[in-house]
Structure formats: C-alpha cells, structure tokens
C-alpha cells in the first residue's frame, strides 16, 4: 500500500495498463503537450509518444467515434473528456454507437472504450461545467457506468474498465482529485464492477451513495454518531451500471431506514432508481419512506452563495437521516 491521491491513482491505472498492453492508448484534448487540464496525463506523451497519447482537435464526437472504431479493431482506447459536460457533444457516438454496436451486430465485435473525465460541481464553474451525468448514462443498456469514491477504487475500477470488453463511462469527481488514500501497489490489483461495498458499518440507518457524495455521507455519519448517537451504515455503490444493491438490501433489512444521496438533480435521478428498487425489494423491512438528498433542481448558478445553496451538504444528509428515524431536528 502507498498513499496516493485520486489523480495519481487514475494516472497509475492508465500507465500500468499501457505498460502491460500495447493496444491501450489515450486520446483527448490537450492531454499530451499541454499535459491535461487537470494534469492527469502529465508525462505520458513523453513516455509513450504521439501514437499512443493523441492530442485531438476539440471535437468530442470525433474523439469518441474514432475510439469506437479503434476498439472494434482490437485497440483499447481511453478517451479523456476535459470535463464530462463536453461529452454531451458526443452523445450520438456514445449512445447510438458505442452502446448499440455489439447488440445490433449480434455480438460480432467487442467495444473496449473507456470514456473518462471529471464531473460535478467545482467552485463557481456555473451552469455548463458543473453537471453530473450518472443517471443519464446509466439509463442506457450497453454501457457500464463507474463513479469511484476513493483513490483505491479509482485505480482498481479504471483498470477493470481498460481490461474489459465494453464501453465504460468512468465518472471522476473533480473535487476528489486531491483526496489521499491507501492504494495497493500490486500491478494485478483491480476492483470488479457490480460489487458494492460497506464503507461504514452501523445499525440505525442506511445511507446509499457513490463518488464524492459517499465521502460527504461518511462525514455526516461521523457527526451523527458523535452528536446524536445515531450509527449509520454507509454503502458505496462504486458502479451504477451494473448496479449491485444487495448490500443495500441487507443493510436496510438490518436498519429499516434508508437515505440515498446524490449530487445531481432529483427528478429521474439515480437516487430515484435506487429508492424504487429498495422499495420494491425490501418494502416490508422499511419503517419509513426512503429519503433522497439531491442537488437543487436548477442550472448551477455562478455566485458562490447560490452555488452552495444548489449543492447537497452534510447537513442535508444529517437532516434526512433524522427524518427517516423520526428524530426531530
């Protein structure tokens, strides 16, 4: 184990896989000479050369489409989106092509494409640069959607994505890039998709989350423990598609109360899907309706005070847990 930050963990995953397999390459805007807006790819052009570290024009459809074609011919391209907000420009390539070609070809090709990049609220990036997209992509069969909450998971899940046979939307939290954590050094370390984990044990209420909101939920759980004596069990989903809710069902069976936390907007979001599945599966175990903590249903404003109002905070999680426990605030 070595202490690494989330950014280094992502870089390590890519360089280890590029060292291991010559068919892995990376492409994106200003990832080579410029070394990446978030410096994820720093040093990679020098190490691997321009055929494997491809600076592309600002052309997201072109980037993703060419990557899909490369994958169909046996390469394993990683497409870095400067931010996932820009990937919407490539929606046709992702949703109509990457997600569908295996199916409509009757399984004649593999599509090992990883589309990765940061998402979520930063600091005053306003409406076009602050969005989160997990429910958008997780809606589509044919894609896999990953949202790691820790440096170790960022590395292990990205390695699984690169080694896989399907298109993967790898959603990084820009706000977590500097976060440190213990990361296994072993080159063979991977984290499988579709295996949620219990990030904190507890018996009073269950909190289900992923990515940055998982970290926020853990802080809220600590405060609830210290301030209220409420012990929350916190489930980290890690991947939204495939989605493993078994640990959540088991936890709710124990706690009988559940809060789902997401950064994105409430309507038709990931929390709605998770809450519905919990209600369908362990309805009789619930002592309160499943609560959702979400961002406010508005485009992200620029002014810092408004931005703070628009995004979920640990106080919201604490209030929601108290609500499902019928504890007055």
């Amino acid at each position: 184990m070595t202490e690494k930050n989330y950014r280094e963990a992502i870089r390590d995953a890519m360089t280890e896989e590029m060292d291991r397999d010559p068919n892995v390459l990376i492409m994106g805007e200003d990832i080579g000479v410029y070394e990446g807006t978030f410096r994820i790819t720093a040093g990679m052009l020098k190490k691997y050369g321009p055929k494997r570290v491809i600076d592309t024009p600002i052309a997201e459809a072109g980037m993703v489409g060419t990557a899909v074609g490369m994958a169909m011919l046996g390469l394993r391209p990683i497409v870095e989106m400067m931010t996932m907000n820009f990937a919407i420009v490539a929606a046709d390539q992702i949703l109509n092509h990457a997600a569908k070609v295996r199916y409509f070809s009757g399984g004649q090709v593999d599509l090992p494409v990883v589309i990765r990049g940061p998402q979520g609220a930063g600091v005053q990036l306003s409406a076009q640069h602050s969005q989160t997209f997990e429910s958008f992509y997780a809606h589509f069969p044919g894609l896999k959607v990953v949202a790691p909450a820790t440096p170790a998971d960022a590395k292990g899940l990205l390695k699984t994505a690169i080694r896989g046979r399907d298109p993967v939307i790898f959603l990084e939290s820009a706000a977590l890039y500097g976060m440190k954590g213990e990361v296994p050094d072993d080159d063979s370390f991977t984290v499988p998709f579709g295996v949620s984990r219990v990030a904190r044990e507890g018996s009073d209420a269950t909190i289900v989350s992923y990515s940055r909101m998982l970290q926020m939920s853990l802080i809220a759980a600590e405060r609830l423990s210290q301030e209220e004596g409420i012990e929350c069990e916190v489930i980290d989903l890690r991947t939204l598609r495939p989605l493993d809710l078994q640990p959540a069902y088991a936890s709710v069976t124990k706690t009988h109360r559940c809060v789902v936390v997401q950064e994105q907007w409430k309507p038709f979001g990931a929390a709605a899907e998770i809450a519905a599945s919990i209600t369908e599966t362990v309805f009789d175990e619930l002592d309160a309706p499943v609560a959702r903590v979400t961002g406010e249903d508005v485009p992200m404003p620029y002014a810092r005070n408004l931005e703070v109002l628009a995004t979920p905070h640990e106080e919201h999680v604490i209030a929601a847990v108290k609500k499902v426990m019928y504890v007055s605030s």
Partner: protein
Amino acid sequence: MAKAKEETTSATIDPVAACAPEWTGILRQMILIRRFEEATEKEFRKGKIGGYLHVYSGQEAVASGIITALQEGDILFTGYRDHAHALSLGAEPRRVMAELFGKSTGLSKGKGGSMHLFDVEHGFYGGYGIVGGHLTLAAGAAYALRYKQTERIAVCYFGDGAMNIGSFHEAMNMAGLWGKAGMCPILFIIENNGYAMGTSVERHSALTDLSQRVRAYNMPTEKVDGQDVFAVRGVADRVIRQIRETGKPYCIEAVTYRFSGHGAADTQQPYRTKAEVEEHRRRDPIGILRDRLGEICGLTDDDVKKIEDWASAEVAAAVQFAEESPVPEADELWRDVVAEDGPVPEGSS
C-alpha cells in the same frame, strides 16, 4: 495542397483487360444485387420484411467498382443503404435476406435488420442508421489498422446527405490530420445520388461541388461517373494502391442515382419527377456494363440471360431460406447487450 480534379473521371477501356473473366463476375454481382433488392421490395410489401428498407438499385457500380478492388483483410463501413456492400464483400445472400426477415440465421442473428447488416468475417463492420455517425468510427478503425502495422485499409461509404452533419467534418478533419503522419489509410466514398432523402443537393448544400468541400480537410479527392463501373474500378485500383502505400486518406465522389424511393415508404416521391427517374434509368449501370461487354467482348444476350436466371435462382433460394429459418429464441433478447462479465483471458486484446 490536396489534389484538385474538377473533371469527372470517365473510363478508358483496355479491350483485353475489359474482357477478363473478372468483368463477367462483376456483371453477375451487380445483377445479383439488383435481383436481391427487387426481392426485398416485394417481400416488404408482403410484410415479410419490417422496419425501414433502403434499396440500392441504380447505384450498383459504386459498390462493385470499389469493393472488387479491395484485398482480403480490408474493412468497410457504410450507412443504412447497405445490402449491396454486404453482398459485394461476400456475405451469403441467404444470411442477408434472413437478417431482413428477422430470423436467427441472419447476419446479426436477427437483431440488426436492414440498416445494421454486419459481417466481420468478410470485413463488413456495419450498417449504421444515424446519418454520418459511422464516419468517425471508420476513421478510427483506419488508425487502428496502421497502429497495428498492417497493410489493410478501411473504406467508408456515405451519401451526399451525410455531408452536413458535424460527424462528417470531425471525421474528415481527423482523417486529414492523422493522414499527415501516414496513420489513416482510408478511402471515403461519397455516394452522391443527388438527394438527402428528398432534399436535393442544391437544396441541402451551400456548395454543390461536394468534392471541393472535402479538399478543405487536406484530402485529395476526385469525382467519378458512378454509373460506369469501369470508371469506378479504374479510380479505385489507382487510389487504393496509393492509400495502402501512404497511409493517407483519399475521397472519391461517385455521381450516381437511386432508381427506387429513399425507403420503402417513399412511394410518392414528390421531390422528383417521373421523367427525371426515366432519364436516369437510361444510364442503368448494369445496362452500361452489359452493353460494353457485348460490344467489346462479344457477350451475348444468351450469356446475359444465363446470368439473370442464375441471380434469380440465388435470390429465390435466399428468400426460401429466410422464410424457413426460425425466429430468434426469446433468450436472444438478453444476449450481446454487454460481453459476459468475467476475467479477460490473457493476451486476448
């Protein structure tokens, strides 16, 4: 600077070469495609073929003239008017027809249909239904072929109607860019049949000289008479050799015409007159080839009749095979959404 060829390339015929048995083979292929398409229209009207159906009649020389010039290992992408490309690459007519019938014996196990034919074994990488979307895939595939240090090339067909969408420009620019380093061995073919669905080139493109638009991406391009398979093949032989050698892209604009409607539902065709269609039918690519083989090589009406009978029998057998094939099993619904999860075998990439 990209090479500018304003003139349409027409055929110069070497009588000895023209009488090589290969040309009779090309005639057979073009007649087979025509009979096949006629059968699909008939089976569509009978309700045996569902969904959308876009037939290729009138454009056969564009598929045959290029595809017969390819080598084993070359790969091809096209849009949804894709039956001819699959057949020309060597897909079995009966498996193409079975796909259109939605049967388990179809090329894509009945899960793609007319617009998504796919036959990787023969180098056919699809059949795509979003106009222009596949151009970027083809450019990336070409990059992969060179990255893996092969001599293979990619071919990408698209219609004049695909030239106004973003993917076209992004693909062309990236192909032109990668071509500078010899990393994009791709032949783009504009199948200019004069219409984007029902909107004529004059009504959909600010610049009507379509190949001129490609030159903006540092890509050499030339225009060819797409009704004359000798002309198409002549250009194809030359530029395919060049692409293979240099790893640089090239674009051919094949000026052609579609005899049938845009799709099977396009019965009224208010965007063109019957007289216009009749005029173009006088330049039927099959007729042009047949007449020339008759004049130069002594191909007789009887020879042609034999080919037509053979093609009709092939197509009838394909229809019968499709008709008699089983529909996909219900559990096929769930297959091929993603790969089976599990460890990837070492060295599989």
